[in-house]
């Protein structure tokens, strides 16, 4: 049984402590804009955590599809921070190094954070280039039609002066690099 394992997981995150207040009213799932695409609805994620079945939650597509719109936690009658739970589950998943149900999402976050680490700010053009390049190997992603749409849009944005060609070069990059160094140190411990 994975109850013990689940329980030790649950102790890690502060927001997890509150899930036991859930009485399964489904208000969170009823208002979730992405519910139609999820394999587990938000209230089901919470239910699995109550049963200490963290594994089910971690293996779901839901944790990557959640748009962090904050509707669920805003409406929950028991003040459970469901969006925060989704965040904690993502953190746990990323730390575990397992293969995610939706690989594009953590890849995007990783690329995004790398850009910050490098330039201090996000440079949209270089983020898009790097992400598109890294994503090409993922299965079933980036069909031709979508690529054409993106290229057409890219051209329109360029013609309207909305694409800056060079990344910002701030003085603060070393300070930002230190934040990331600390983060990597955290991960190892």
């Amino acid at each position: 049984m994975n109850i013990v394992k689940g329980a030790s997981f649950i102790k890690k995150g502060r927001v997890f402590d509150d899930v036991f207040a859930c009485y399964q009213c489904c208000k969170c799932s009823a208002g979730c804009p992405v519910a139609f695409a999820m394999d587990l609805l938000p209230h089901q994620i919470i239910r699995h955590l109550i049963y200490h079945d963290t594994e089910k939650a971690l293996a779901s597509h839901t944790i990557w599809m959640c748009a962090s719109c904050q509707t669920c936690n805003t409406r929950c009658p028991n003040e459970i921070d469901i969006a925060g739970v989704m965040d904690e589950l993502r953190h746990m998943h990323i730390q575990s190094g397992r293969y995610p149900a939706e690989p594009a999402t953590p890849l995007f976050h990783h690329t995004f954070l790398n850009e910050i680490q490098k330039h201090g700010r996000i440079h949209e053009l270089s983020l898009m280039q790097r992400y598109t390049f890294k994503r090409r190997k993922l299965p079933g992603k980036g069909n031709l039609q979508d690529m054409l749409y993106d290229m057409k849009l890219g051209l329109k944005l360029f013609l309207r002066g909305k694409i800056s060609l060079w990344p910002h070069r701030g003085r603060s990059r070393s300070e930002v690099a230190a934040i990331f160094k600390h983060e990597h140190g955290n991960k190892k411990t």
Binding site: E102, H109, I122, E183
Partner: protein
């Protein structure tokens, strides 16, 4: 009046006209936006999806800069607003994960919409309206992070916010009521699950077309880009035609103030708003 300003990354790229219109309108209102010196990215969704430390330390660095300046910190982006404000909460608590950025006093983070709609600004706006937006039927769109969760945003009417509505009416426009004011447009999924985003945007555009409104008004670079740039492709996939202009509220302020630069901002949109404005005699 002088405040610290955190522009956020998209104002240097896809949301250029938002930045330009804000600068112009604020200088007309005698508001000095003092850009935080050497600010860095707040981490956006990617940081909070990845680690609690990054989600706090990345905005924390900027909050430390703002703390040393000492005035309110104003930002035009709903996502930056949300991340900065969440970090203020986190950094003011005793069990913060990023102690090196602990705040001695909480920085007052404000979204520029709330700032410009505040009591102190209303008078100034009133005085500068020379070309009221008479006859323009507009939908106000707040999106998610400007209003939710209310314990962070301090928005009193999170299911039915009104500040933008009030501003539009003030500017002379007709504000059309709709139930999608705070619906999610799926902006954070645009690059990873484009199908979901398209469906969410499509729903919103469908609803907008059902009303008699002629345009949507936003207060966030991510919302505007999401709603403005994908209308063609969603129309093609849904076998419909959408062409509803999506404004930044600051652009409409600029139009009402008769700012000479307004045409330049509007030419940057994907769905061209100029025919609509010309037809109304506003451009």
């Amino acid at each position: 009046m002088k405040v610290s300003f955190f522009p956020g990354c998209s104002l240097e790229g896809t949301a250029r006209e938002y930045g330009e219109s804000i600068q112009t309108v604020c200088s007309t209102l005698n508001v000095v936006l003092e850009e935080l010196d050497d600010w860095t990215c707040c981490g956006a969704s990617s940081a909070h999806c990845t680690s609690r430390y990054l989600a706090t330390a990345l905005p924390g660095r900027n909050l430390a800069l703002a703390e040393s300046v000492g005035s309110d910190l104003v930002t035009p982006c709903a996502a930056c607003f949300s991340r900065l404000k969440t970090a203020v909460h986190e950094l003011s608590g005793s069990d913060s994960v990023a102690r090196e950025y602990a705040l001695k006093r909480p920085v007052n983070v404000r979204h520029i919409l709330e700032f410009l709609c505040s009591e102190e600004m209303v008078q100034g706006i009133e005085e500068r309206i020379v070309k009221p937006l008479t006859g323009l039927k507009a939908l106000s769109y707040y999106g998610c992070l400007l209003v939710r969760p209310p314990n962070i945003t301090e928005e009193p009417h999170w299911e039915d916010p009104r500040s933008l509505d009030a501003l539009l009416i003030h500017l002379g426009a007709e504000c059309i009521y709709w139930s999608y004011k705070t619906e999610c447009c799926g902006g954070s999924l645009l690059l990873t699950n484009v199908d979901i985003s398209r469906r969410l945007i499509g729903r919103m555009l469908d609803m907008a077309c059902e009303t008699e409104a002629e345009c949507i008004v936003t207060a966030c670079p991510l919302c505007q880009v999401n709603l403005d740039t994908r209308q063609d492709e969603i129309g093609e996939l849904n076998k419909k035609e959408y062409s509803i202009p999506v404004f930044y509220f600051s652009e409409l302020m600029g139009l009402a103030f008769n700012e000479p630069d307004a045409g330049k901002w509007l030419r940057r949109h994907i769905v061209d708003p100029q025919p609509l404005l010309k037809a109304k005699g506003l451009l």
